[in-house]
């Protein structure tokens, strides 16, 4: 489904990502971990078109998406959330969600300005769909609140719902549980897992908290200084000497 071939990206002289390859099959949930500055978010930025890779290619459903503009990549069915939350903060929660459904809607400029019945119907359906999804993530009491005034954890949930209404095939989650305690994080991940099943999603997940990612991912890629140092099941990763070294330093023992 998503195939990344020898992706390399430089920031000036700094090699942020080096020779990264991954092959994700439909309905998989893959983890991407690594210490700070390992290049995880850069990979997300490369997949979604925020950066253009120095070398390498990104294929999605057999199509080469390398160098596409971000909005076109989203329209192809890849969507992401952000590590540092990027909501439309003065817009209400429901509007944040509705905006993301934008390119799935059809009402033309003239239909909108003339308020044709087709426009009104579509607008109502989108609103209902957005409200329903928000409800699944426990946001129904804040639909009309400006998104920027919500507490951190709920803003993350809005981001996930907003990503979901673009009707993606592949969902990239950038530390969805950041700032949450392990219990909240596990709850959220369980919810994400359920959503992934309901919506037949494929998920690539960046996560810092090891127990969280261990519990949900079927395969984990570990990055350090832009290089892939290990790939395997959570169990294999846990005991991989290079991973322990990267996280805890040379000579450390778990």
């Amino acid at each position: 489904m998503l195939k990344i071939d020898h992706l390399t990206h430089y920031f000036g002289g700094l090699k942020a990502v080096e020779d990264f390859s991954i092959d994700i099959q439909p309905r998989q949930m893959i983890g991407l971990i690594g210490p700070n500055g390992a290049g995880k978010t850069t990979i997300f930025n490369l997949i979604t078109g925020v950066y253009k890779p120095t070398q390498g290619h990104v294929y999605f459903d057999g199509e080469d998406l390398t160098g596409f503009k971000p909005w076109r990549i989203t329209q192809h069915g890849i969507v992401r959330t952000f590590q540092n939350i990027r909501l439309f903060s003065t817009m209400s929660v429901i509007e944040n969600i509705m905006v993301a459904h934008h390119f799935r809607m059809k009402a033309g400029l003239l239909a909108s300005i003339l308020r044709l019945p087709s426009f009104i119907k579509e607008e109502r359906e989108t609103r209902e769909m957005a409200a329903k999804l928000a409800d699944i993530f426990g946001l129904s009491d804040v639909l009309e609140t400006p998104a920027g005034s919500l507490p951190y954890g709920r803003q993350r949930r809005v981001e996930i719902v907003r990503a979901l209404v673009t009707e993606p095939k592949l969902l990239l989650l950038d530390e969805p549980a950041a700032g949450m305690n392990p219990k909240e994080a596990l709850e959220l991940l369980a919810l994400i897992k359920k959503i992934a099943e309901d919506f037949k999603l494929t998920i690539l997940l960046i996560e810092h908290q090891m127990p969280v990612v261990m519990g949900v991912a079927e395969r984990i890629h570990v990055l350090d200084f832009g290089r892939t140092i290990a790939v395997g099941t959570p169990k294999e990763i846990q005991n991989h000497p290079k991973v322990i070294e990267a996280y805890l330093g040379e000579g450390a023992k778990l």
């Binding site: 979604t48 925020v50 503009k69 971000p70 909005w71 989203t74 329209q75 969507v79 992401r80 952000f82 990027r86 909501l87 439309f88 903060s89 003065t90 817009m91 209400s92 509007e95 509705m98 905006v99 993301a100 459904h101 934008h102 390119f103 809607m105 009402a107 400029l109 909108s112 300005i113 003339l114 308020r115 426009f119 607008e123 109502r124 989108t126 609103r127 009309e144 609140t145 907003r162 673009t166």
Partner: protein
Amino acid sequence: MKKLTNKAVLFAILGLVVVYGIVTILHQNHILNDYIMRIIILMMINAILAVSLNLINGFTGLFSVGHAGFMITGGYVAGFITTLVFKVTAETPYYQALPMFVIAILAAGAVSALVGFLIGLPVLRLSDDYLAIVTIGFGEIIRVIFNFISFKVDKGGWVQDVGGPRGLSGIPLLSNFTLVMIVFVLTIIIIRNFIYSRHGRACIAIRENEVAAHLMGINITKYKVMAFVLGSTFAGVAGALLAHIIQMLHPTMGGFMKSVEYLIMVYLGGMGSISGSVIAAFGLTAVSEFLRPIGELRMVLYGVLLIILMLKMPAGLMGRKEFPFLVPLKERQIHAKN
């Protein structure tokens, strides 16, 4: 809930009809003289300009400083059409002149839209504030262009020069209260409907967070250009109306200083509030007109007034709030709840 919608909008329509009726009756009975009527018309024209600029700067978060340039473009286009193409004069009966004027207004809007598109497309592909620099330049270019465009017109025996640095004079007085009010109300309706649609939401999302909007599948260049062109179109229409009330145009009217006047209206009323732009445009037009007797001092007073208002209300008079009848039902429930 359905009744509520009808109520607020119904009141607004009723209010419009009443205001229109009262003003017309007062004018016919010479309680409101032609001078006052002129100011009322100018207030509405300025409101069209402020609201359309707000669409670009307030709702979409762009920074255009060339609104007067689009206004003057529309003015000249309409002026040339009525005076040179249709040869409308003061003697032409109004019912004959009106269709020609309508054509001129539409042409003015179309030309301004085209110019807006030609400027917007290359510039809005870039991020940051290149638009501000380019629109300042545009204002100057327009001024220079209209300084050069002049015609020789055969006025039955003697040849008159039209246009160029002396401006375009002899434009027939065709903008009356009824017509300007219709255009003004239509403008408000169109821009309000645009904003409360998926297109308007896309524009606001771009203002709020460009990167996130981009990554939510919104073609940001397309929507920036759309907002810019739509705003420019109405500026052109307003220019056409303006030309046919003040009856002359001068190239300097498209310049930077004139654009700043409209910027002030937008910021004073509130970035992202249609209601605010209308109030500010009405208020500032009236104030600067009624302060005319004190001469140059009015600019000082005007400045002090602005400083006080911006200190007391940094978000503008209305912030991002709207009059209820400008907000569709679903959105209005939000305000009711909060």
